[in-house]
Amino acid sequence: MDHAPQDTQPPLIYLNNAATTWPKPSEVLEEVANCLRQPLHEPGRTTGNGSMDYPSAAREALAAFFHSGPAENFIFTQNATDSLNLLIHGFVKKTGMQFHAITTELEHNSVLRPLTTLEQEGAITLSVVPFIDNTVSLAAIEKAICSETRLVVMTHGSNVLGSVQDIRPIAEYLHANDIFFIVDGAQTAGHIPVDLSDIPVGAFVFTGHKALFGIPGIGGFFISEPDAIAITRQGGTGTDSRTLTQPFEMPMRFEAGTHNYPGIASLYAGIRFITSIGQEAIEKKNTDLTRCFIRELKDTQGITIYNEKPDLPVVSFDIAGIDNHEAGFILARAYNVIMRTGLHCAPLVHERIDGGKGCIRASFSYFNTRDECRVAAEAIREVAWSADSQVRSD
């Protein structure tokens, strides 16, 4: 064989933005550094001249960004998974009796695992609504509702198929029927405009480290009906410290202990970055990148794209003749193209689209370029063409 050793790595192409966006805007990195340069401004605990109250500023930014309020109803958590656990378990605890819950096949394990755990414990009965043409319709949800239904938990955007669910009619129907609706916006927040003034959700969950350009470790949720959720965490809040139970006041009701200040600062700066560029401009660029990538790959023999018209910059595909983990390994190590392979923590979607074997997912962000799309697609084509290579065995 005449292959010579190759010491030089091609430039990194990062297409794993649906997991965590990278790189972060310089404004975000600078804000995190600023946050850590000065003493923390902790209202009710420690304040000083010149320190910034990042939690309050970020809450205001979130309220403006999602067109909803009051700002105190935006609660900080570690991430979307943390938010969903707090909301789902808090709702069950508050309800205090067994009820029927509904979710969908499109969900991430951050929804499926808490609900399944509660089902196994006998706290709820659970229906999982199938998706058709990559989406879950109001009709499908309606069909699953029974007289004991109290909760629907549903993703806004699929992390595998890139499809956005039309949550407004679903939210309106559930609201009218007094069914609490938790929307997992982990994949949509920052990618598409979300106007919560127009969608009557019970709670909307987001994470900071994806399309909101924050750093890992910060997320949160907006809650329109705080009384629907039991308090499941207790601790210091810097307020009403004589009382030995958790304050009822928002946002302290759901936030105990010292905040993740660098994370909140990054979220604040991420939202400011998106606002400065314009959400429409970001969405337009992401759509362009996604279309470019799909165009490059869709006619390649051996490549199956699971949704050729995603609403989000997410493209899941399979390469025939090679295990997707192997393909991911080759693309990362030989081409320096980083994507995510496997089940993407969404096992039920994969059961439907690929029999549960998993696939490869490319996901784009504002900082990707068309050139990167083309170079990555060329690398994927090379792997696909090689996948029918000889198999030698003993």
């Binding site: 064989m1 292959h3 010579a4 050793p5 190759q6 090679i322 192997e326 390994f329 080759i330 190590r333 030989a334 081409y335 690398a379 090379e382 792997v383 063409w385 090689s386 996948a387 290579s389 000889q390 198999v391 030698r392 065995s393 003993d394």
Partner: protein, 110 residues
Amino acid sequence: MKEYVLDEPLTEGFLKFLVNFGTVRSFEQLRKPYFSFEKEQFISIKGFLWESNVEVRYKKEFQDLVADYFHLLLYYEREGEPGIAKLKGVEESIRDKMKIRLAPSDGNSR
């Protein structure tokens, strides 16, 4: 899973040796010639020819028995043909231990 950095790159000779012990898949037309090796109940290997980094995954059930298997492959490859027979012998003794472990207990053991 372990990632090893060897003191010299893997060669095609090593791949030819591996063929005697399991399934080798190779993708030689790629920018870097990739290969994988799969040996049921033992280990799997992923890597690139002419590179010294290699990823080795051990089968969980028998991890203690096969922990040295990758090193044995490297060691016996140097011996050429005689190494194949020797490693097959070692492999047999590992398989015997696997069989003992898999055998149903007679219920009298203390």
